[in-house]
Every structure is written in C-alpha cells, then in structure tokens.
Symmetry: C2
Subunit: 711 residues, 2 copies
C-alpha cells in the first residue's frame, strides 16, 4: 500500500512544481470540480433562490407539510402546559422589568405569535426571559425613577409616589427600548450579521447569565422583604442597592416576608416532588400556577393587602389594547441598552435553538432567527410588550410535554389570549412577594452554573477566567455595559493565549521524517549543525518580538552580540591595520637608520593578530549551519510578522547562518510575497514543504561542500 | 544520508512510545540539559543577579568603561547640535502644550539629565515630542480654559483673559499629568510590564502618530493665522475647532500670516538645501535656530508686537526655579490622560530605541526604559516640566552629527542649561507664529506616513485597515481615547483574521507523504474513501461553528441530514413493523376464514421494505470511511474547541464515519485530555503524528477488513 520512499531530489522536484507558483498554477479543472462540489453541498444543505420566499416566511413551508396525525396531540398538550407556565412567569418577569404585570402577559402573547410565523426553531419557547427583563427594568427605572413622580398629599402632609403615571412612563420606556432592540435585530439579520453571536462563547454566556441572575435576585429583594430601597444606576449600582437593602432590613414587612418564605419553601418542595414523580405523570404539575392561584385565594380571603400591608399586583385590565407608536424622543438615551438587549436576546435564543436543532436533526438559520426575533420585538413593542428571548425552563417544559413544532408555541399564545381576555383580572389580589418567590426559585438553574468554575478550572483555566471575569463585570457594571466589557475581555484572551506561546527546538524521531520538540520527548535527536525552531502560536504583532528573543535564546545565538562582536572585530582589525601602516612607516624610517635589525615586537603583534582571527573563526564554526523555522502553526502573517521574518533572515544571514522556512500555509506564502519578503537574494528556494525536506537539503549541500573541498 | 523509509507498523510503534504520554514520559535528563542551555543563553544575553545594581543604574556600568578617545569628540559635537535644535523645538512644543515657552526649555533639560543616568538606549534623543505635547495641551486647555480667567476691564468695558494666572494654572495641570504619567511608567517598569508595548504594532503607531499630527496642525492654526477660536474638548472637538477656524478666517491678522508664510517657506527651502548639501557639511545647519534668531531680531527691530499686533513669546524668566510638588487635587480628573501619555511616551521611545539598538548591535532593556522614562517624567514634573518622550528628528540629528552614547544627551542638557541661565530672555520678542511654523514644518515626516496607505494596501489589507482606523479614531476621539479605541480595534483584527479561515480538503502529492489542499495544486490526489480536512486557523469559539459547517460542506456530509435521515428511516421501519404486526394479526384473522389463500399484497410490502433497506445501505456506502482532521494550524484549544471536536467525533461516529486527528501540538493534546475528550470509546489511538500516518492506518485497517472478509 505504501509508496516507496523517495530520494530528496525527486521530492524536491515534485515540490518545486507544486509549491512555487501556487496561485498561478491552479488547474481550472480541479477548481471547477471543487467549487461544483461545494455548490452542490450548499444546495443540499439549505433551500436557495426559489426558496427565498420560504426562507423568509418559513411558516408557509412547514405548515402545509405539518404531519397532523403525528404531532398534533403532543403540540396541543405542550402548548397548554407552556401557556399555563407563562402566566405566572409573565407576571413575575413584568415585576423584573418594572412594569405592571399585565404587560408581562402581553409579552407572552404577541411576540410568540410572530415568532410562530417567522421562526425556524421548532422547540424553543419564545417569551419573557429573566435576564432580558432585568435589563429592561434597569432602563425603565433609570429613565422613570420614583423621584420624578412624587406628589404632595395635602391631608397627610407626606409626599407619595404617583405609581399610575410612573408605571405608564415605564411601560413607554420598556416599549421604546424593545422596539429599538427589535429594529437592531432586524437590521443585523438583513445584513446577514448572524455571525456576531459567535463572539458569545459558552463560558461567556454562562458567566453572563450567572451575573445577570445575581442582578435578578437583588432586584427582587425589595418585594421579598417588602421594603423600598433607593434606586441606583450606573456601575456598582448593585453594590449600593445591596448595602441599602441591608440598611433597610429592620423595616422589613413581616407579613410579606412570611408570604415569601412560605411560597419559596412550598415551590422548592413541589418542584422536588415534580422531579421525583416525573416518570409517573405524563405532564409536569404546574406548581407555579397552583402557587399563584392559592396565594390569590388566600390574599383575597384574608385581605392581606389592608391587614398586613402586603403589596399586591393591583389592577389588571382585561382585554387587549390598541397598538401605540413608541416614543421616539426616548431613543437617544436607550441606544446602548437596546443594542445590548438585541445581542443578548439573540445570543440566548440561537444557542438554545441550535442545541435542540442538533439534538432533533434539523437546521436553524441564524439570520432568519435574527429577523424573527427582531420582528417579534419590534411589532410586540407596538403593543407595549417588553423584549423577549426564550427561556430554558419553559423550553424544557415544551419539549418534555411532547411539543414537536412551533405549533405548540402558537397554542400557548392562544392560552395566553384566553387568560388576557377572561381570567387575568382574577389575579389582582396576588401578592407581589409570590411573584418574586417564583422568580427566585426559577433562578436555581442559573445559579447552578457556579459549578462551572471548578469544572473549568480542571479543564481550561483561560475559559474559567473568561467565566469569572464575565460574571464579575456583569455584576459590577450591570448587564448592558458588562456584556460589552466581557466580550472585549474574551477577545483579549485570544491575544493572551497566542501572546505567550511555547517555543521549542525540534529534533528528529530516529529513522523517521517526524520532528518533535526535544524537551517533550526523550527519543528525539537534535540534528547536529541545525537549529529547528517552532513557536506553538501564530507569529503576529503581539508576540513577534518574543519570537526573535526566544529564537536567540534557544539557538544560543544572540544576534545583537553576534553583530556587535563582528563589528568590534572589524573595528579592531581596522585599527590594527592603521597601526600596522603606522608601524610600517616607522619601520621604514627605522630601516633607513638600522637596516639589518629584525623587529621582534612586530612579530609578536602579528602573532596576536593571528590568534584573534583564529578566535573569530572558532566562534564562527560554533554557529549552526542553518536555522529551520517550522511555521505550521502560523495562521496568518501581518506586516509585523513579515518584517520579523525578514529581519531574522537578514540578521542571521549576515552572521553566516542560513534561514529556511518550512510548512508554510498558502496564505502565509502569499503574505510573504505581498510583503516583499522575497528578492534576488532571498528566493522561494528557502521555502520547504516539510521540516524533513529542509533538513535533507541542508545535509545535501553540506555533503556537496565537503566533496567540493575534498576534490 | 537518508534514513530508509519505514513501514507503517514501525513508525506507529515509535510514535506510540512517544506521543501518548507526552507529559509523564519526559526524560529528566533532557529537561535539565535543555533548561541548563536556556539558562546559559539567558546568562550570556543580559547581566543578572549581581548586575542588578548596574541594570537599575546603567550609568555606573557604562560610564567607567566610556571609550573617551573614540567617542568624546563625536558626542561633544552631537550634544551641542542637539542642544541647539532643542531650543526652538522646546519653545515651540511648549506652545503645543499650552504653557509658556520657558517650560519647554525646562523639559529639554531635567528629563534629559535623568534619562542620562537611568536610560539604556545610547542613541535616542529624549525630550519634548509633538504628539505628547499636543496631548498635554488638550488636558491643560480642558482643565484651565480661557473662560475661567476672564477679568473685567473697567476702563475699556471689555473682558480680557488674565493670561498670567491662566498660564500658571496650565503649568500646574501639565506638571500634574506629567507626574502621574511618570508614576504610571515607573510602576509598569517595576512590575516588569514592559511587554504592554507589544500591543502597539507598527501600523498602529504610524497611524496614531499621523492622526496626532493632524491634531498638532489644527492646534497651531490659531498661531499661524493670529486668530482665537473657541476651545473644544471631548470627541469630535477637532472638527468643531476646524469649523470655528474657518469661520474666523476673515479676522486673520495679516501681519501674523505674513510672518508664518515667510517662516514656513524659508524653513522648507533651508531644509531642502540642508538635505542637498548634507554630504558637504559635517554638521547639518541649525536652520531652526537661525529662523528663531532672525525672527527675534526682525520682531525687535521693527516692533512687530505693537505695530502689527503680532503675538510674541513674552516674558522668559531667566535661571532655574525651585521644585514644586504637583497639585494632587487635579489627579482624579487626569488619570486617563496620564495613562495614555505614559503608554504613548514609552511606546515611541522604545520603538525608536530598539530600532537603533538593533542597528548598532546592543540591547535596550524595555523595563529599564520604562523606569528611566518614569523617573524622567516624575522628577521632571517637580521642576514643572511637561511629559517627554523622544523625537525621531532630533535622534537623527544626534546620530548624524556623530553621537555614540548617552553622553551626547547629557551635553545637550548642558547647552540647554546655558541657554536657560543666560540667553533665554533674549527671545522674548520672538513671534509665536514662528514657533508654530517650526512645528508645522517638522511635521512633514509624520505626514509622509500617509504613503503607508498605498503600500499597506498592496502588502496587507488588514494592517492597512488598522492604520486607517487608528488614524481616524485618533482624529475623531482625540489622542487619549483614540489610542485605547485603536488598541481595541487592532486586537479585534486578530479575531477577524482567524475568524474567516480558509477550509480545504487535502490530497496526497503522488508518491510522497505530503498532503496539500486540492484546490491549490493540480497534481495532488484525494485519497478515495477518506476526507482530509484542514482549517487555516486555530479552532476556537469565534469560528468553531463555521468549522463544523465547512466540514459538512466540503465532505458532502451534512450531519443534521444524516441524523435526520437515519431517524426517519428508523421511524419508518418502526411504523412498518407496527403495520406488519397489525397485518399479521389481520392475516391471522383472515387465515381463520380463508386458510389457503396466499396474500400477494404482503409479498409486495416485503419487497418494498427490502428496497428501502438496500437504499439505506447504498447511502451508507456513499459515505467516506474516515475523516482525518489536520490540526497543525491549531495554536490552542478552548473549551468550545474541545466541545466542537467532541461533537464531530460523536456525530460522525454515530453515522459510521471514523474521525482521526493528526498533527496536534502538545498543548492541543493536553487541552483535549483536560477537556475529557478521551474516554473508553475514544482513545488516544485516534491521534496521529502526521496526516500520512493516519492515512496509512485507514488503508491498513481497510485491507485487514477485506482480508477478513476474503478468508
């Protein structure tokens, strides 16, 4: 099976044919066949051209093909279950977004319907999401703070907050930021920028959601304890809020705290039971719905609102509201938040969508997802929804109850519609503390992510750093600015990872053409007279200087020293020559006087000079014959990289050491060409396709040299 | 010379010994010998331990060894020349820094002396630098604007600026920001953070200095035209200033403009002459000094100040001033500017220093340079200097006039001292327009850098992008914020470059063990039944998804489709089985009625099933036997990368395609190990040291399979 080992000359010949004019010599034949192949595979992987209509309106593609008999029952059960879960979650997340609960219900209705039409993921449950909600809450509280809505009550001589006006303003802010984030998503989708999500690596997303979860917890403490801490915004606001909460703890409303604790404990127990009996029940028990119903009944029966001053949800208008244009005057002050929202919303949705697409064997189109989410948000915002994404917990409910397509989502929207039209107003007596408890209990999944830290510590310390830094930045700088800082940091880690590469000298694995780092393997042998050098990373501006230093250190040849020694020797030689000339003159004069005398001194000087020259020769023969740079890990070359290689080539060349490059990728060779690396002196003959070829070349020329000297 | 080609089994055996337990099996012997070697080379490349004293106070090392006879004359001539150049430059750059000219003279004295003691570069001329000066100017004008120093003149009924108080305040601001930047440099030097400069790649530095040059030009227009535009700060301030200057052009002071034009034209002509006659004169003519002297004489003789209202330099106090502590209250508002100054100053100095060190064969210690500059700035600031770096033009003067060591710098400081003590006050009548003209003419070097754009366009488009974006960001966001944004952008380009790699299928160069991309070479042949895949870049979070997609496209195997087809086939088979079972029941019932009849229908069904199964088999045999991933360009693996490889391994494995990894660096193997890539199913046997080994392995197992089926 094996091809016979070729001698160097033949190999070299083949390679010369191949490697030198890489771009020019491409065979059109091969090219077309390859591109045809690629096109074909592209064609089969996604619908193109005539399917453009279907790709922008996927509903019309898959709904006529909907396998009714197989999926209908599962989707129905799943849709109702998700709708039931969305009722308490929607109200609870509305608290997070600092708007009245009914807007959380709207947000669980309109966007879901729109996603049903445009979305390509069959399994994710689009709707309210804790992280997005808390981000909106921070915007709406910043732009419509309590302090702007104080009214003086003449009878009690106290100023109170005009909550109705305030909430209306907050809804406007939330709708505006949602509208804008939707427009951003739409634009990104239309220019096919779906790839931006690739900057959200997994450690980053998990660290970010954990950091956001901490924000969620802190924002809910006021409802849990029934206190009203001051509102802070900007960096470090979380810490100020926590301090304020601690300061206000003595003023806790005991009734509210009791409700919170009872609900939290009840929910945890019920959820545990749910997990235990998962297999026995076909559908998980909607514990949150029960909690809401029981709490509402208790609150109404015992009149908790007036007796214990427990804050309740309050008026829930029944029915739907006509669409309203967002307030454009707000746009300038929310542009940053809107962008952060659009990226986070998309990032979460697409990563969940892809996970399940891979699991169930279909494809999610990232740009279409952007468009779908963008339309959901921007159209939803007209109906005063706040920004949505998809939630992991609801998606799990949707899948576990048998949901197989987007139809489940549409059915859950229908459930929401019924609730909005008929049942919503029944929940007016529900204590807000119960909603806060639902939020807190739902966060356990995100907080579990803290176990990532020991796991990442074991597997990849840099990724752990990304996780931890992202979490801290998110907590300290708030979710919007924190996201930008985290993405910047995670990009920085790419620089870190390639900035401190491992530099190695390579040696030959005996009797093979394989070269490996001498420090890692005990059987490899360095080739005498050759330095084979490799960096583990790309050579670019951030590590170019280190590359030169490492090469000098490992090879034991310090260019500065080599050159300065050369210069000194030359200078000395020049001086000596001058002296000689002077002496010769003197001698001549002396000779004129004493012609026969021989000068012993001059002899001595000559001897000294000879020793010096010998010395110089000796150090020269210490030097290796050639340096072979293994450039296989080089991904690209920037101008600094080309310059570095040129300097190495020039400096070592001047010191009499040949520099050969091996294993260059085509793009590297192109960069070298464009960067004027090659000239009359330095030709492409210094490029070798493998380290072994370069070694053989060196050994061959050495042999020839020796033969030449022999004959 | 060549080792005989080894058969696969031998090679594999050798590699098994070597590759599997890379970390554990390291021979201590090899390790120590290597580390000893490195230590040795480290030792010879820089003085250590006992030389600690010398490395912090290099003066005491090199001054006793100063070759007086060789260098003294050159250094003396060079020192006087540089001192003469520094006089007009110092005064001019003081204008840029928005402080009275004498402080520019101080800045050309104290810091130079301190650098003489602590610096390690022998050739750079430390002192005032245009970019640094304009940065300081923007800070001092921001914190001490004209509007803060208006006084009401009761007699003229006009408000005028109290320039004396204003300038005193500006000097304080400049000294404070200089002190702080010096402290930053000192701290960075002490924690050995000299490497931060590696983030300043060459295209970035050149783009940055070009952008800064534009700031310098704009800041000097008011002196050139004799107008007083409003002061703007923050982003886009340059554009506002230009608009304001254009608006004020009709109010130009004609006298000032004439002086400016005459000086600029004169300087340009003189400089051209200087370049032409460079070889004839041993020392370049100090044209700027002549310009200053002539202008002062003319101004004094014709009383330009009162006759034509031309602004002159004004009072120059003679002698030195006692040190003053910087105003600590200013520190909070200048911290960002100070950091930018420290980075820029260091970046410029070290890049120039390194260039000349390489040229003249010695080494510049980057951390010691940071300390030297830090001390120069912080101690200088106590004497009310403004931040210094080194200037290219002065350095060229220093070298071309024969300067060989830091002594030249020290002598130039002595020249400055004489000027400060005796001659300075003579220049009080010098028009500021002349200084502005000197600055503008000196900028031609920086503006010449615009020719980088076509050159970089040809050699490296990404680096051109870095250059252009840096320049624009610097112009738009001002030098401080612009620097930060540019560094961030230049890091982003590393992501760009690796984010869109080239994906290729590799084929064998006939009769060799070399594998090359099939689309680049016309002689390579794809190995039938094998897919050899390579990405030109590292596999990490920003391109992991694309890697999977590209692999699917190039190999023609869409994992989603494969899996879904498999699932569908299975589902159909299940359904069929159910039907069969039903039919069997029916049959049984039928048989009860009509025992003898044979069912043709059932026969047909069976046939159909067989065809389907055959079909399934056929598509399976279409699949390649194995996928070989060439990971040689992978520099590191993050968790996303490991996960991606694991998914590829799992998904293709499930579809019956073997996945083999080849050419992994040790760090990649370590990441795979730590990331739990290997388990009982996926062992290290899938790692191959070359692509060829993997190919041989596949072919061997294929042969064995065939043999097994034959016998």
């Amino acid at each position: 099976m094996e091809s016979p080992r070729l001698r160097y000359s033949v190999r070299r010949q083949v390679l010369n044919e191949l490697s030198v004019d890489t771009v020019a010599e491409k065979s059109e034949e091969v090219k077309t066949s390859v591109s045809a192949k690629i096109k074909e595979s592209l064609k089969c992987s996604r619908p193109k051209a005539k399917n453009c209509f279907f790709s922008t309106l996927p509903l019309f593609y898959w709904l006529p093909r909907y396998p009714f008999r197989e999926n209908a029952l599962g989707d129905l059960v799943s849709g109702i279950s998700v709708g039931i879960v969305q009722l308490p979650q929607g109200m609870a997340y509305a608290l997070l977004a600092a708007v009245p609960p009914v807007f959380g219900l709207y947000s669980s209705f309109y966007p879901v319907l729109i996603y049903f039409i445009f979305g390509t993921s069959r399994h994710i449950s689009v709707g309210t999401y804790a992280v997005m909600s808390v981000m909106i809450g921070s915007v709406s509280e910043r732009l419509a703070p309590d302090s702007d809505f104080m009214i003086w009550n003449a009878t009690t001589n106290e100023s109170t907050v005009d909550t109705v006006t305030r909430d209306m303003q907050r809804v406007k802010v939330a709708a505006a930021v949602t509208f804008m984030s939707g427009i951003f998503q739409l634009l990104l989708g239309l220019v096919q920028f779906g790839f931006v999500v690739t900057y959200l690596s997994e450690p980053l997303v998990r660290g970010y959601t954990t950091g956001a979860a901490i924000h969620v917890i802190v924002s809910q403490l006021k409802y849990t304890f029934g206190i009203s801490p001051d509102r802070y915004s900007g960096p470090l606001s979380l810490i100020y809020t926590v301090l304020d909460v601690c300061y206000l703890l003595p003023t806790t409303n005991v009734g509210t705290l009791v409700v919170s604790i009872v609900t939290i404990v009840g929910l945890i127990i019920a959820k545990e039971l749910n997990t235990c009996f998962m297999r026995k029940f076909p559908i998980p028990i909607p514990v949150e719905l029960f909690a809401v119903i029981i709490a509402t009944l208790v609150s109404w029966r015992f009149d908790l609102k007036t007796k214990y001053e427990i804050e309740v949800v309050g008026q829930i208008p029944s029915g739907l509201q006509p669409p309203v244009l967002p307030e454009f005057s707000l746009f300038a002050s929310i542009i940053g938040d809107a962008f952060a929202l659009s990226v986070v919303g998309y990032g979460i949705a697409i990563s969940l969508g892809r996970t399940f697409a891979l699991k169930y064997g279909y494809k999610v189109d990232s740009n279409q997802e952007l468009i779908a989410l963008g339309l959901s948000n921007s159209i939803g915002a007209l109906f005063q929804c706040f920004a949505i994404s998809c939630s992991m917990s609801r998606t799990m409910v949707q899948i576990s109850t048998g949901g197989k397509t987007q139809v489940a989502g549409a059915l859950s929207a229908v459930v929401m519609l019924i609730i909005l039209l008929k049942i919503g107003e029944l929940f007016e007596e529900l204590p807000k503390a119960v909603l806060a408890a639902i939020i807190l209990v739902n966060l356990h999944g995100m907080l579990k992510q803290f176990t990532d830290i020991p796991q990442l510590w074991r597997t990849n310390k840099v990724d752990m750093l990304v996780w931890v830094v992202t979490m801290i930045l998110t907590v300290v700088l708030n979710p919007d600015l924190g996201l930008a800082a985290s993405i910047a940091f995670s990009m920085l880690t790419v620089i870190f990872r390639t900035q401190l590469p491992k530099y190695s000298l390579l040696g030959q694995v005996p009797d093979t053409d394989i070269y490996r780092p001498v420090e890692d393997y005990n059987q490899v042998k360095e080739i005498p007279g050759l330095v084979i050098f490799r960096s583990s990373a790309t050579l670019y501006y951030a590590n170019a200087e280190m590359y030169v230093d490492a090469l000098a250190e490992r090879s034991g040849m310090d260019i500065a020293k080599l050159l300065s020694r050369k210069k000194k020797l030359e200078a000395k030689r020049l001086r000596k020559e001058k002296k000689e000339a002077k002496k010769a003159k003197k001698e001549a004069k002396k000779r004129e006087k004493q012609v026969e005398e021989t000068s012993e001194e001059s002899d001595h000087e000559e001897k000294f000079e000879i020793t010096m020259e010998e010395n110089a020769h000796e150090t020269d023969s210490d030097l290796p014959k050639a340096i072979i740079l293994d450039l296989s890990p080089v991904n690209f070359l920037d101008t600094v990289g080309v310059k570095t290689l040129r300097n190495i080539q020039k400096d070592y060349g001047e010191a009499g050491v040949q520099v050969l490059l091996s294993c260059c990728q085509n793009c590297v060779v192109e960069s070298l060409e464009k960067g004027d690396f090659f000239n009359e002196k330095v030709t492409k003959a210094i490029l070798f396709s493998t380290v072994h070829d370069a070694v053989l070349y060196c050994q061959k020329t050495e042999d020839e040299d020796m033969e030449a000297t022999h004959f």
